[in-house]
Amino acid sequence: MLLAGVVLLSSGCAVAGSAGGDTGRADGRTLRVVLTQEPPTLEPCEASLTGTGVVVRSNITEPLVERDPTSGELNPLLATGWKQTAPRTWTFDIRSGVTFQNGAPFTAEDAAFSIDRAVNSDLACNVEGYVFGDDDLEVDAVNDSRLTVTTEQPDPILPLRLSFVEVVPRTTDPKAKVRVPVGTGPYAVTSWKPGAAISLNRNDRYWGEAPAFARARYVWRSDASVRAAMIDKDEAEIAVALDPMEAEKDTTAAYPNNETTALRLDGREAPLDDIRVRRAIDLAVDREGIVDALLGGLAEPAGQLVPPGVVGHNDAIEPTRQNVTEARALVREAAADGVPTGRRITLVARNGMFSGVSETAEALQYQMQQIGLNVKVRMADTATHLQYQLRPLPEDVGPVALLIMHGNQAGDAGFTTSQYLLADGPQSTFGTEALDERVADAGALSGGARQKAFADLLAEQNESVVQYAHLAHMSGLLGLSRSIRYRPDSATGDELRLADVHPAEGAKH
């Protein structure tokens, strides 16, 4: 009776924003994607933010070059070729016959404008911080089809860095971030109903192969079980970030997402300023147990901050095996030398960082207490966690073991080490001068020498600094309707290419 009453009473009501909301029915022409949350912005220079990039990158806008997430090779996109023409200068050949979604032709001047806007401006774009650091670039459109980019120091991986700069037309506001972007990608934004949905239409001017689906619609549901249910109920074709409990379904696909979890140990505060205590914590962690019991067996125990496939990953590093006896002995030894091992350590973790994060934090707390340390867990929201994560680090909060999850989507350990290993790195609490020098030296190398240098310094971190007790290389879980074909890769979490999705053969709609 009540349900009938609801139906009767509500039939005359309309929900604000419902006109363009939700996923709609399966029609075989619309690709329906359910995300975890609404993107805060679609501004292309913020595409290194996961929530923005997953919609924008390579769907609405495109970069000059793109990195193959499997091989690590750079492929041409809006640039057809590139080469280092001087120690500090790279020259790019610009693709002809490309138009923006607003009908304007794409030229080298647009590429130069886009780089200037994202890297050299006062917009404070996220891509600037993570990818380019503090250095500005000198950008010159030689003619419509040629672009030169000059760096302050020789940069062997400049094309890789530029794969993070999404190209926008020169008519884009250079002084303010835009809410809805224009690009050269296979889809264009048709509507954004705040709180409800973002709709895209196929870009008929697209220079490349036309994508299979004429339309795409993004909605967001914060609960993972609802996202999974939407796949089961045929309300969406793709659902991101499912829980491990969905792993056994044939509509779920696991993929390595380049994220690595670790405990960052604060080397400024006792007892964590003693390497024996840090090494003891590393020995105390039961990686296999946490992976099997709490992460659904979907992760791999880790011994370094970058997973396989990233330049600099060290194949020789084995994840530390749990050894409680040895860990206890190290703590006792430190205590005997006057290290205050009984001082309370705060283990800070972020809500929603990954499925099972609070249970993982509690397991780590237990394992650290098992070796004689005093640990308290604090679960924090993103903003609070950021205060612990980034410099300037909070003062007078005692020793902190911060549970971090680091994603290296760029595919090069240089991005990791400059943030996490430098003594004064934005996300590092301490280090050594020797390691800093090795980071700088490795960053100037290319090819095999670069790979070896970064691999060696990651091993060195584990020997001489032990700032991190590495936990696991993580995986993502994607819900995929039986009506589509899509193979996720390590970039999927940050760059879900709609053009790579095809209707399954024989699928009915």
Binding site: S11, A124, E128, R179, P194, G195, R221, D223, V226
Partner: protein
């Protein structure tokens, strides 16, 4: 009635002001949102510029004064997260929550009066026992669990209802409202039953029965009028809770209402939107409280007589 109203408005305004000021100060105690909105490499100049543009570089009392002056002109600032006016974001979200809460309360009251009266008419009968058991269960079920179970059972297993969303026919309302409804319905059934049992045993009801009034006339014509006062009081509190507590429903079912907006604003340190949302919610709760008091006074003259002029 006027003195009564004046006193009620003044006493209800105090918590309203406290909530608005409390949220303003508490939000700022969580720190500067600059880390969330600027990249790692933002220069000190960029950080200073950001803070100045948002007014975060001013002293807290100055920020409060500016906020109050702007709010008096219906300018609630700009969302850090979306760049949209905070006031319009709140105005877009609020009707969604009000619709949910309004329909839910109407159904809860109607259902509770019917079921509670039926149970009270024959105390300790089978109907009474079933109604009591179900209402206590309903009042105890966590809404989050109920919502997810509803999605899995009625959405996925039976395929009768959509899992979530705001687009579609009346069926989209069923799970969100059922989730919101269950607790107030359970509580109200118990309150109605209790009040009605007392009212039905009153002498005037016995006289009405003796004069041959039908059971319907006895319950709804005589007893209910005297039993309604405590029901309205509890319903008022529950309605306030509904406006505040739509967070779970809006989050799970993807309804862009004020609860979800508030949670997102807290997590994103979007102060302008948070303040605007809290202000509007507080004013609504303030109005609801006054409305409940007025209803209370209208149905029970002793209430307004108790207030000195």
């Amino acid at each position: 009635m006027i003195p009564f109203l004046r006193k009620r408005v003044l006493s209800s305004a105090v918590p309203l002001v406290c909530v608005v000021l409390g949220v303003f100060f508490l939000a700022r105690m969580t720190g500067n949102p600059v880390d969330l909105y600027l990249p790692l490499s933002a220069t000190p100049e960029q950080r200073a510029e950001f803070s100045a543009a948002q007014g975060f570089d001013l002293s807290i009392p100055t920020q409060l004064w500016n906020y109050l002056v702007d709010a008096a002109h219906f300018d609630f600032g700009t969302s850090l997260r979306t760049g949209q006016p905070a006031g319009s974001m709140v105005l877009d979200a609020f009707p969604v929550t009000l619709q949910l809460a309004g329909v839910t309360m109407l159904l809860a009251l109607t259902g509770a009066v019917l079921v509670g009266s039926l149970a009270a008419y024959r105390p300790n009968s089978l109907i009474d026992r079933i109604a009591s058991l179900l209402s206590m269960t309903a009042a105890s079920i966590p809404d989050f669990w109920f919502a997810i179970m509803g999605v899995l059972v009625f959405g996925v297993s039976l395929g009768l209802l959509p899992t979530s969303g705001t687009l579609g026919g009346p069926e989209i309302w069923v799970l969100p409202i059922a989730t919101l409804l269950i607790r107030p319905f359970g509580v109200l059934v118990q309150v109605v039953r209790g009040s009605m049992v007392t009212a039905l045993s009153a002498p005037y009801v016995k006289i009405a029965r003796g004069k041959g009034a039908t059971p319907r006339r006895v319950v709804f014509g005589h007893a209910l009028r005297n039993a309604v006062t405590p029901v309205l009081t509890v319903a008022g509190d529950l309605a306030v809770g509904l406006v505040n507590g739509a967070v779970v429903v809006e989050t799970i079912f993807g309804w862009p209402g004020i609860g979800k907006l508030m949670i997102d604003s807290i997590l994103q340190r979007d102060f302008a939107v948070l303040q605007a949302a809290v202000l509007m919610t507080a004013v609504t709760i303030f109005a609801l409280n006054i409305l409940v008091d007025v209803c209370h006074a209208l149905t029970d003259p002793r209430v307004r007589q108790a207030v000195p002029a």
